[in-house]
């Protein structure tokens, strides 16, 4: 009797614990390996490379050799890992980057006479997924560097795991400021994506100068990306435009009912509702905001995490007129349109890009290739010795790299981007024409700001 009562209370407490775990609704799966056997060519792992046995790092960066070396035998490929979101509703984001990296390897062909081989892992756009993917990659001693992760929430644990193992990790789409903030930056982590301190400020400028918004409300989903980006936006909106933030709300990533949070927001209707969250939640928020009384005159805006065909499909007609900030690819030049995009389309089988970070992944991969060329030792027997510490140093020393996304130089905390931000609006393909980014058959993200 009493034990029955106690156990029922204990069970209920367990449910509370489940509810408190972010992303509890998305069951985790085993990692998906797409490009070759992760344990195939590898000799048994040397102890100094396993993550839990690596020595603590000095703040000045580890001396060369401390993290061991990778030997690539003659005729063997150089193995790069990816940890990008390739399942779940946000799969567009990661597959887009994955194609970008593959195109880079295709165009490059060989690095120092060796082929390039990818080991694909899935970051699932979650903390758990990032951890699993990074652990799988560091357990393979042949992995030279990692391209990933897609989502900042996955990037935080993954950066720590790869840095502990001394493996260079370059993200094409992590944008959360904390990843490259001096006090939280992990030694072997860098990114080619913009820092959201830039994106949030650009959106705030657009909101007050172009939309004439005086009040704004924000919603985040508890992910590192959304939470930090909406905070930057809120601060900048107050600082730049003397605007007023009516409220800063949050939902859970698995929530489907946004009406309650929207009703609370409608208590003091803002000129602009900014919700830089992901595809599924963003679509629900868009649809339900259109149905909420009090928000009829409110402009809706999201960010780069929402710029995908999946979002357009899931939100339907409600998406028309939604603004979204993101990286600006209008400066990308002829190479992008004449060589990159055709190769990308051949791989993806899709007529339009799936998201906005493929060029960043392309640049990340090419910068890794350059760092390998700069730091690796070519042996007489045709094999290659890559020192992990030296590779990291060579990568961080890159300056003035001519990439698709601009002129890239890494600073000491791993920000390598040449950040240019644009704002797009969802419009019918018929009207948008050449300015279309991610699109479905009917609608697309049309780049509208800044004017070139």
């Amino acid at each position: 009797m009493k034990s029955m009562k106690l156990s029922s209370v204990a069970f209920a407490a367990m449910l509370v614990a489940v509810a408190c775990t972010p992303g509890a609704g998305t069951p985790t799966t085993g990692p998906t390996t797409g490009g070759g056997d992760p344990t195939g060519t590898a000799p048994s792992g040397s102890p100094d490379m396993s993550p839990d046995m690596s020595p603590d790092m000095s703040p000045d960066g580890p001396p060369s050799g401390e993290f061991g070396t990778v030997e690539v035998a003659s005729g063997q490929p150089i193995k790069l890992g990816t940890a990008l979101v390739i399942t779940t509703a946000d799969a567009d984001l990661g597959t887009d980057s994955q194609y970008g990296a593959q195109v880079a390897a295709e165009i490059k062909g060989q690095v120092l006479g060796h082929d390039i081989e990818f080991v694909f892992q899935d970051d699932q756009c979650s903390t758990e997924g990032g951890t699993t993917a990074a652990q799988a990659l560091v357990s393979d001693p042949q992995i030279v560097a990692v391209i990933g992760t897609s989502c900042s929430s996955a990037g935080i644990p993954a950066a720590q795991i790869t840095s502990d193992a001394g493996i260079l990790m370059v993200s094409p789409s992590n944008t959360a400021p904390s990843l490259t903030a001096p006090e939280t930056h992990e030694e072997f982590y860098a990114r080619t994506a913009h820092n959201d301190t830039v994106q949030g400020a650009a959106m705030a400028t657009y909101a007050c100068e172009e939309l004439g918004a005086e009040t704004a409300a924000t919603v985040h989903d508890g992910s590192a990306y959304a939470e930090q980006l909406q905070q930057v936006f809120a601060d900048e909106f107050v600082a730049q435009c003397d605007g007023r933030i009516t409220t800063q709300e949050a939902v859970a990533p698995t929530d489907t009912d946004m009406r309650t949070v929207l009703t609370t927001i409608a208590a003091d209707p803002p000129d602009l509702l900014y919700y830089p969250i992901f595809t599924a939640g963003g679509a629900l928020m868009t649809q339900q905001a259109r149905q909420t009384s009090g928000l009829e005159d409110t402009d809706l805006a999201g960010a780069d995490g929402m710029q995908s065909p999946t979002f357009l499909e899931a939100a339907g007609d409600a998406a028309l007129g939604v603004y979204a900030s993101g990286p600006d690819l209008a400066f990308a030049g002829d190479f992008y349109s004449d060589e990159f995009l055709p190769a990308y389309e051949e791989l993806s089988g899709s007529a339009s890009p799936l998201s906005v970070f493929h060029a960043h992944a392309f640049d990340a991969a090419n910068m890794i290739f350059q760092a390998i060329e700069d730091s690796a030792t070519e042996n007489a027997d045709g094999s290659l010795t890559i020192d992990r510490g030296a590779l990291r140093d060579a990568f961080f020393a890159i300056e003035g790299f001519e990439g698709i996304t601009g002129n890239l130089s890494c600073n000491e905390t791993g920000d390598c981007a040449d950040p240019k931000i644009s704002v797009a609006v969802v419009a019918p393909v018929a009207d948008a024409g050449d300015d279309c980014g991610a699109s479905t058959e009917e609608v697309c993200f049309q780049r509208i700001w800044p004017e070139d």
Binding site: K2, M4, K5, L6, S8, V9, A12, A13, L15, V16, V18, A19, C20, A24, G25, T26, P27, T29, T87, T88, A89, A91, D92, H220, G222, T247, Q248, E249, A250, V251, A252, T254, D255, T256, D257, R259, T260, V261, T263, T264, A266, A267, D268, T279, A280, A283, L284, Q287, Q291, T292, S293, T310, E313, A314, A315, G316
Partner: protein, 353 residues
């Protein structure tokens, strides 16, 4: 009153539970008072509160329909069918495909009532088939196994179904095309209500009445109650126990299929993992109402829906907690703990012998 009549039996656990009860009541009252008096700075208009309650009722009706499936199966087999959330997903996906087909044929726009009926029927039948197959393949062979075995099987079945959906339909999110008849608002007694929410509530209430009639007034219902009372004796009395159990699963499936379509009406989206959270919430609702009790499941679903909707704002924002809505699941599951502390067998549950 039970407690007042025998104060001498107050144990240490009793004292702790009483202290918890008092603390909870104080917390709820203080939180509500602080919010309503506007301490948070954000004041909700009466219309705002009304919208929250209506949203909660619509959401709660869906929970209630799913919860009925849990409660029916528990009532008869004393097992928790954790795969029930996936039966709901099957209904929602069927709704998606049928809605796309109907929209292409133009039936949805030409005759929305017929369209909605076709949607509901096709989804209910699909879910029923999945539920009956599940019972036949995964649970019937384990009828005489210890109680923990079918429970673990249920979790396995849930994962198998969920990842089958992912394999078949992909991992993306898809929008369901809905006719104009379901969009927009209607005025009822001067209150503007979203059409989708109105349809959900009407359909859910209708189905619940039908179920109540079926269980209480028909021959099938009587045999279900008999099997629930004692399987062996019911068998001796000439009731086909296996068939009755299959019928129970079929009814649970029908209701879950309907819930799937109604959920699509409110949220417009389907995805492979969509059944997980509503499934857990509905299970909570079933326990809240007293598992095994049909009226309890309905009541539990509605209570949970409304609490989830108004709870976070009402209870927490008064204390200055930012972004209260993020904590709705915490409120929902804390509610379960609270009800179990006050009433260990749920709102309408009976003590087990």
């Amino acid at each position: 009153m039970r407690f007042l009549s025998r104060p001498e039996r107050l144990t240490r656990l009793g004292v702790i539970l009483w202290a918890l009860r008092i603390a909870l009541i104080v917390f709820v009252l203080a939180g509500s008072y602080a919010t309503l008096s506007g301490a948070s700075g954000l004041v909700l208009s009466p219309e705002g509160w009304r919208d929250l309650v209506i949203t909660g009722i619509a959401q709660g009706s869906v929970y209630a329909l799913i919860a009925l499936g849990y409660t029916l199966v528990y009532g008869i087999l004393f097992m928790i069918n954790f795969a029930h959330g996936e039966i709901f997903t099957a209904g929602a996906f069927t709704g998606f495909f049928v809605a796309v087909a109907l929209a292409e044929e133009g039936i949805m726009e030409a005759n929305p009532v017929l369209g909605i009926v076709i949607l509901l029927l096709s989804s209910m039948i699909t879910s029923m088939i999945v539920a009956v197959l599940l019972e036949r393949i995964a649970y019937r062979p384990l009828r005489r196994a210890p109680r923990l075995v079918p429970l673990i099987t249920a979790i396995g079945a849930s994962l198998v179904l969920q990842y089958s959906f992912r394999g078949i339909y992909g991992s993306g999110v898809r929008m369901v095309p809905l006719p104009d008849a379901i969009q927009g608002r209607v005025e009822i007694l001067g209150i503007p209500i979203l059409r989708s929410q109105l349809i959900v509530v009407i359909a859910a209430v209708g189905l619940m009445f039908a179920l109540y009639y079926l269980v209480e007034k028909t021959r099938t219902g009587r045999s279900m109650r008999a099997v629930s009372e004692d399987k062996e004796v019911a068998g001796l009395m000439g009731i086909n126990v296996d068939r009755t159990i299959a019928t129970t699963f079929a009814i649970g499936g029908l209701l879950a299929g309907a819930a799937g379509v109604l959920y699509v009406f409110i949220f417009n989206q389907v995805s492979f993992a969509m059944g997980f959270l509503p499934g857990i919430k509905a299970f909570t609702a079933a326990v809240l109402g007293g598992i095994g009790n049909i009226v309890g499941a309905m009541l539990g679903g509605l209570t949970l829906g409304i609490l989830e909707s108004i709870g976070p704002f009402l209870l927490l924002s008064g204390f200055g907690v930012p972004s209260t809505n993020q904590l709705r699941d915490v409120i929902a599951f804390s509610m379960l703990v609270i009800v179990l502390i006050f009433r260990p067998y749920g709102i309408l549950g009976r003590k087990e012998s």
